[in-house]
């Protein structure tokens, strides 16, 4: 029972989010039951849909890592959005402009994207360590700077000649193989899952991970134990940046049909923010994040069916995400439910 508690809490928050989301449909005369039915049937109805759900889940499990590793070190790193834009730019750059042999090219493009993401997280990290600038403010400002910078780079330097609406597509040598005909799921999902598992091992299996978690749980104790707090914070930001960069790459070299970045950033925008909800539902655990990402991937993929069949704009799914986060912020709600129904 005690081990199941986090899972129950997450499920409780998800139900509250969906119920309130349904209530928000009523004033506009949408049918919540019809909408949710369309959503879940759309998300899991056929094996094709399940693969699409997994394709949507791929970037989310990574941006969830960014927030989760931050929280583990006591930070509210909400910079995944901007770090992901920079990762996407890095991936476009390496994948479309560097002529490299097959095999190596994919690896290089992935690593460049992770490097770009990590570099973009470096400045908020240093501002936090040196000047004590609160990471919520610095990462949000960096998200907006990245937004404009990425659009600038995409339009001025990386645009596909004759097609201004998007960047040059990734060269075929830099693309992850598609897993099934007609699906947008590629082998990049394996890389994403591997990254999550690797982060899990770093956090619970290495000295660095132990120090990082100690700083998050009890900075005073960490200081007395001789942990270099700034080092732990720096690594928390860098791991998060790499994860977000990889998330950006997954949308460029791991997601047909575009294989490129839209000039409006339309194919990556808000994936970083969505990761926050994923991280919290996954209890800020890298492996829990994978499961939560699949759920949110289902909401996003199924959301399109909700829009088609019930007329409810799929953006409502994002509002539900927010409601879930708010519910998870209030432990008392769950405690009240438990007192009443579960003894």
């Amino acid at each position: 029972m005690r081990r199941a508690r986090p899972l129950l809490e997450s499920l409780f928050a998800i139900s509250i989010g969906l119920i309130v989301g349904g209530l928000l449909m009523l004033p506009f005369r949408y049918d919540p039951l019809k909408a949710y039915q369309a959503l879940f049937r759309g998300a899991f109805g056929t094996s094709h849909d399940i693969m699409e759900t997994l394709a949507f889940a791929t970037p989310l499990m990574l941006t969830a890592i960014t927030f989760a590793v931050g929280v583990r070190a006591g930070l509210f790193n909400i910079g995944a959005e901007g770090q992901m834009y920079m990762g996407a730019i890095g991936a476009v750059f390496a994948a479309s402009l560097l002529p490299l042999p097959p095999g190596i090219h994919v690896v290089v493009a992935t690593l460049v994207a992770m490097l770009f993401g990590a570099l973009w997280s470096l400045v908020p990290a240093l501002l936090k360590i040196w000047r004590g600038v609160h990471e919520v403010i610095s990462t949000i400002m960096f998200n907006w700077i990245a937004f404009h910078l990425a659009m600038y780079l995409a339009i001025y330097y990386l645009a596909e000649p004759g097609r201004a609406e998007r960047t040059r597509p990734a060269l075929p040598t830099a693309r992850y193989p598609i897993l099934a005909e007609g699906s947008t799921l590629t082998a990049v999902i394996f890389v994403a899952v591997l990254f999550c598992i690797a982060v899990y091992f770093v956090l619970w299996g290495t000295r660095l991970g132990y120090e990082l978690r100690l700083v998050g749980e009890n900075p005073e104790a960490a200081r007395y134990a001789g942990v270099r707090i700034s080092r732990a914070l720096l690594w928390s930001f860098l791991i998060g940046g790499m994860a977000a960069g990889l998330a950006g790459a997954s949308q460029i070299i791991g997601r047909p049909p575009a294989w490129s970045l839209y000039a409006t950033l339309g194919n990556v925008v808000t994936l970083g923010f969505d990761g926050i909800g994923v991280a919290l539902v996954g209890r800020n655990h890298p492996l829990g994040g994978i499961l939560a990402a699949i759920l949110f991937g289902a909401l996003q993929h199924g959301g399109r069916f909700m829009e088609y069949h019930a007329g409810v704009l799929s953006e409502l799914v994002r509002a539900v995400n927010g409601l879930i986060v708010i519910t998870l912020a209030v432990p008392e709600l769950w405690a009240m439910v438990r007192r009443r129904w579960i003894r």
Partner: protein, 328 residues
């Protein structure tokens, strides 16, 4: 305390000087200082309203980092109310009410639900990110943007220093009022005390929960007014990303000001002015061709970062900020 204040004023002075020089430079390339000031004051208003409100509730120990979401939702709500009543002023009041309600919900969660206020605020922002486009589509059946009839705009006063919105004047007055409230009234004393030592206030027979709830509603309402101001007295329409990070810039103002409403107002003016410059550069012929518009757009965010990084030092926040209070 006095020293700190002087230091901060010094920084503002320096920055103002730098901006003055910049203004002069921009003037040389063909930008008008008057239009700059006009744009700057408009951009200042939502920041100032949100920041002043946040100063008050943070003094009482309640943090609301959902300002961004509050701005977004109240902007849409304000336009809707304005259209229902056929009046821009009604829209402003509507936005303020919605903002106050959001403050009430967050306050209830914080005071009675003992929520993690940062996470609740992040949740509110996420919620608004999805709810705003959903509302726009559901209310007006058009994706992402809504332009309302021009006559609903709140009229501006024409003065020698350009057109000024009455809401801007109201924002300045509210900042002064907030200062007086916090430092020269019994209520303000209690608000400050409740952030520092809620147990003492409780023993003195003041309801900690109600006081915190009150400041949370107040902060939300001011932020909501700022949200409704953007479409109804500034842009003339609402888009799904109308707040564009202003909620967080307002938070930066609060941090910069060390929770002092008047300093927050000054900071808001500073950031507003950079936004004004950005706007002026983006529309002035002869200038806009030379500087890519993407870099101009970064200006407010870069300034915010720089200022926060330079000025932050030994600012002091209330002892129980962001933490729920429970009787022992």
């Amino acid at each position: 305390m006095k020293e700190l204040l002087l230091q901060r004023l010094g920084w503002i002075g320096l920055t103002a000087l730098a901006l003055g020089l910049l203004t002069y430079g921009l003037d040389r390339v063909g930008l008008e200082p008057v239009s700059l000031l006009e744009a700057g004051l408009l951009a200042m208003t939502p920041l100032a309203l949100a920041a002043v409100g946040e100063c008050v509730n943070e003094k009482a120990g309640v943090v609301n980092i959902g300002l961004e979401g509050t701005l977004l939702i109240s902007a849409v709500a304000g336009v809707w109310v304005a259209e229902q009543f056929g009046s821009g002023v009604a829209g402003l009041i509507g936005g303020m009410t919605v903002g106050g309600l959001i403050g009430l919900v967050l306050g209830l969660l914080a005071v009675y639900g003992r929520s993690d206020q940062i996470i609740a605020g992040i949740g509110l922002n996420l919620f608004a990110l999805g709810f705003t486009p959903y509302l726009l589509m559901s209310l007006w059946a058009f994706p992402g943007i809504h332009i309302f009839p021009r006559e609903l705009m709140v009229p501006r006063w024409i003065t020698p220093i350009g057109q000024i919105s009455p809401v801007t004047v109201l924002a300045v007055l509210l900042a002064i009022l907030a200062h007086v409230l916090l430092h020269h009234t019994v209520l303000g004393f209690r608000i400050r005390a409740v952030g520092e030592k809620p147990e003492a206030v409780d023993v003195a027979g003041v309801r900690v929960d109600r006081l915190r709830l009150f400041t949370s509603v107040l902060g939300g309402a001011l932020c909501g007014l700022g949200g409704a101001f953007m479409p109804l007295a500034w842009f003339g329409g609402v888009v799904k990303e109308i707040s564009a990070g202003r909620g967080f810039i307002a938070l930066a103002c609060v941090v910069f000001a060390g929770l002092e409403p008047l300093l927050a107002l000054a900071a808001a003016f500073l950031f507003g002015l950079t936004e004004g410059i950005a706007y002026a550069v983006a529309v002035t012929p002869g200038v806009k061709e030379r500087i890519p518009f993407y870099f101009v757009n970064m200006l407010p965010y870069v300034t915010t970062l720089l200022v926060v990084a330079l000025v932050i030092g030994r600012r002091r926040f209330p002892r129980t900020i962001g933490r729920p209070y429970a009787r022992e």
